[in-house]
Amino acid sequence: MDVGFFGIEVALALGAALAFYMAWAIGANDVANAMGTSVGSGALTITGAVLVAGLLEFSGAFLAGGHVTNTIRKGMLDAVLVEQNPELVLYGMLAALASAGTLLLVATRYGLPVSTTHSIVGAIVGFGAAGLGVDAVAWGKVGQIVASWVTSPLIGGVLAFLIFGLIRNRVLDRDKPIEELTKIGPFFFFYVFFIMGLVTLFKGLKNLKLDLDLPEALAASTALGLVGAAFGVVLMRRASRRAGEMKDDADQFRHVERVFVVLQIMTACAVAFAHGSNDVANSIGPLAAVHSIVTTGAAATTASVEPWMLALGGLGIIIGLATWGYRVMETVGKKITELTPSRGFAAELAAATTIVLASRMGIPVSTTHILVGSVLGVGLARGIGALDLRVVGSIFVSWIATLPLAAVLSVFFFYFFKGLLGS
């Protein structure tokens, strides 16, 4: 491939640096949204949340993050045109990282609810339309992604509404809520382990050269679910025994909430895993595209995501968490004390399910928006004291503003990188 003044290695280094910055920003801001609900309800301490987030975000990205990465890398642009213009795609992907990174920086500075996912999708559409032509953008796929930004919070909300209804009828509204919860808890453990297992194992572990078909994946996930359930039985029994020792019937619900903490920690892990599977792709996807172009000189080969990229993404998130994220988490936690463990559990279970299913289908969704939808779902079931609907408005504004803004920025950066690196 023809390279410009700076050489191809510079492009790769630039891509890696930008991807690292994106991962850092995700760790610093987005993870707080995912884990803040657990910190707020007192299920996890800040340190605990940082550890859980670091570990599970990384696992989610590594084990189940491939599908979204592929969509971002090549799903939104016409495959033939991409193949014919590797150098343009190279500049474009760098531009996508740069513009999404800039937006994130501005958003963090001014406190705007900008989604990493939306920025990246907007940026790719922007450079695709400007650099490769309007027809190069797979508008059908882009439309599907944009539609999912409306439907995914809705699905999260409906699920959360139903899960909270179930908790109310099966636990909170019973004579002996703690005993009921101890009975029903392991089923939730089974469900979470099963779902997380299934999305990961079914044709998901190409990174580990482990390609299971559906029956195998189902069998393995069921086994995993059963292990999870057994684990759940032990944990739930211990928690309810401890709650039982503190006998004062007036505050029975506080004891129930203490038992819910066990379930909420489990779903917090699931959200971190789901978040990793969906959001890390935002930084890794463009980098993977840059890498495959630089190393092979072609844009559409099926080169998989290299482990070092995932390590880079994971490391970025962990450093983001350690340098800035824990503080955001603390603030989030302090502000959402209204969210008790039972509510946090319902919202997180709904959100995690929605996110992993979307990312399994290769649809990049906004984790934060789905969480907002889920929390609203619990609120609609009359589960939360007060919710500020202004946030919903600000999300709509960010939907309308982020896409074109990211697209325009990306066009600008596209020509910038073309001038800088192009021959």
Binding site: P113, K335, L389, R390
Partner: protein, 222 residues
């Protein structure tokens, strides 16, 4: 700031409970006033009035605080309108208690002998109604915590039934006090009018307390 953090508004429930407690204390504070009127201790009467005033003041501050934090954009487990109406009832408890203490202190009222027992019975009944209403309002957070589960709803409804019973009793006692008042009407002249007001107001305290609780019944129903 984080989107998720901004999603959570301040729930008005605990402040509402604090306000109800303040209003209930106001109602309790007219007992010393009535006792001072019975013994004719005017210093104690003034002191009692001062206490009621201070308590009413505190309730007022809490009320303004709650109103300030109830913007329309809040989506709540309990409807905003219901909250405001309950708040109004609670506020009236404190206001009317203040009216009673004020009139009694300004006119240096001394309770006629025959009116002492019926009046004391009425005040105790009104205070008991307020206390029961306070218990009902205190269940609001449990109602939300259980997501308005059937068990908790049934429990609260039983408490409201008891509240209705207490208010009926206060009504009867108010009627009894009025009957006694009218029997001595000719002896006390124009003072009868003011005693009439005092008795009505104390009855109103019980009435407002009941209304606050009844509002919870409506709130549960929807």
């Amino acid at each position: 700031m984080s989107v998720i953090a901004n999603l959570f508004g301040r729930s008005p429930i605990r402040p509402m409970q604090a306000h109800m407690q303040a209003a209930s204390e106001c109602a309790r504070a007219i007992l010393p006033v009535l006792e001072a009127m019975a013994t004719g201790d005017m210093d104690a009467l003034d002191q009692g009035r001062k206490t009621v005033d201070e308590l009413e003041h505190r309730a007022d501050e809490l009320k303004h605080e709650i109103r300030r934090h109830l913007p329309k954009r809040l989506f709540m487990a309990v409807e905003r309108r219901d909250m405001l109406e309950i708040l109004d009832c609670q506020d009236s408890i404190a206001d009317v208690a203040q009216d009673v203490a004020e009139l009694a202190a300004l006119r240096h009222m001394r309770t006629p002998e025959v009116l002492k027992a019926p009046l004391l019975a009425l005040v105790e009944s009104a205070i008991a109604t307020c206390a029961q209403s306070e218990c009902v309002i205190n269940e609001l957070d449990e109602l939300v915590e259980t997501g308005f589960g059937r068990h908790e709803v049934a429990r609260v409804e039983a408490m409201i039934d008891k509240l209705n019973g207490l208010e009926s009793l206060a009504d009867e006692r108010a009627e009894q006090a009025l009957r006694t008042l009218f029997s001595i009407e000719d002896e006390i002249g124009v003072g009868a009018y003011y005693w009439y007001e005092i008795i009505q107001w104390i009855g109103d305290i019980a009435d407002y307390a009941e209304r606050a609780g009844n509002r919870i019944r409506l709130l549960i129903a929807n």
